[in-house]
């Protein structure tokens, strides 16, 4: 027996959201998706696919907040934003990913996270500032790093 059709349709974007939000390897992110699905299906049935998707994303956000997954070690060629993104508080990260990656409107993203539009805008701005600052820090440390020497 195959899973309900709506879940199969939502799975690719849910996996992407889980991976981006948790920063965890694919297997762990899939585990999160599965947990979110199981807990959402325990509730009364969603009225539409959009509502189901919103519930699942909200569940994934709270699961990521609760379960601190091991952070992957960024490779040598990793972008400074990769580490900076994982340094953001989960709720800020979720706001940024929902809007920038998932293409949600502000209202949709605010509903998903259970916050007002104004709070979402505040979190989004803070997240963008934090990423900008991290890149500036990385750039300045890269510039100054060659001048550092180990002194015994």
């Amino acid at each position: 027996m195959s899973p309900p059709p709506s879940l199969s349709v939502l799975l690719p974007s849910l996996r992407r959201f889980a991976a981006a939000l948790s920063g965890a390897p694919r297997g762990r992110a899939d585990e999160l998706v599965l947990r979110a699905i199981h807990s959402v299906l325990r509730e009364p049935p969603a009225e539409s696919e959009a509502i189901l998707c919103r519930k699942l994303r909200a569940q994934l956000t709270s699961l990521t907040q609760i379960r601190a997954l091991p952070r992957p070690t960024p490779g040598a060629k990793a972008h400074p934003w990769e580490a900076a993104l994982l340094d953001l508080p989960v709720v800020h990260r979720a706001a940024l990913i929902l809007v920038s990656v998932e293409g949600c409107s502000y209202d949709e993203a605010a509903q998903t996270l259970g916050i007002s539009r104004a709070v979402l805008m505040g979190r989004l701005t803070a997240a963008r500032h934090m990423l900008t600052n991290s890149l500036q820090d990385a750039t300045s440390s890269a510039i100054h790093a060659p001048h550092l020497r180990l002194v015994k």
């Binding site: 981006a20 599965l34 049935p45 940024l96 989004l124 500032h129 990423l131």
Partner: protein, 146 residues
């Protein structure tokens, strides 16, 4: 001449994400054109968005692993009742199972109590037997007395 309203960073973000009403978006666009600081902020934020999309968007095109598909709940009630005609049947099926579980549990308890009663383990039944014996013993005595 009207003085243009100040633009907060949150509003600048909303401008970037095309979330401002058209009239305000036009105002902001005009102000941004003359403001180098805002232009550089927007440039960095756009670059962040492009990086985020380039990094994570391809994940949605990856095939979903079979293990995940197999692990999905299939026996539970699906999320959209109107899409599956057999949903009431599923619900009735669950009710029937519960009913039979309750009946078998009650029968089990009754059977257990009967066995205890028959074997005299229940204190009440043992006491009644003692009284019967005592009555038999007392009868001659009471006859003697009368």
């Amino acid at each position: 001449m009207t003085v243009p309203r100040k633009i907060s960073d949150a509003e600048l973000c909303a401008f970037l994400d095309e979330e401002l009403p058209p009239a305000r978006a036009a105002e902001v666009a005009a102000i941004v054109q003359c403001n180098g600081e805002m232009q550089s902020k927007l440039k960095i934020w756009r670059a962040q968005d492009q990086w985020l999309r380039a990094t994570f968007a391809p994940l949605a095109h990856e095939p979903v692993p079979d293990l995940l598909m197999q692990a999905l709940p299939t026996h539970r009630a699906p999320p959209f009742p109107h899409r599956v005609e057999s949903l009431p049947a599923l619900a009735n099926g669950r009710d029937e199972t519960l009913k039979w579980k309750m009946i078998s549990l009650t029968l089990g308890v009754l059977l257990f109590a009967t066995v205890l009663y028959a074997s005299g383990v229940i204190p009440g039944t043992a006491h009644r037997q003692t009284i019967t014996i005592d009555k038999k013993m007392d009868q001659p005595r009471s006859l003697r007395g009368s």
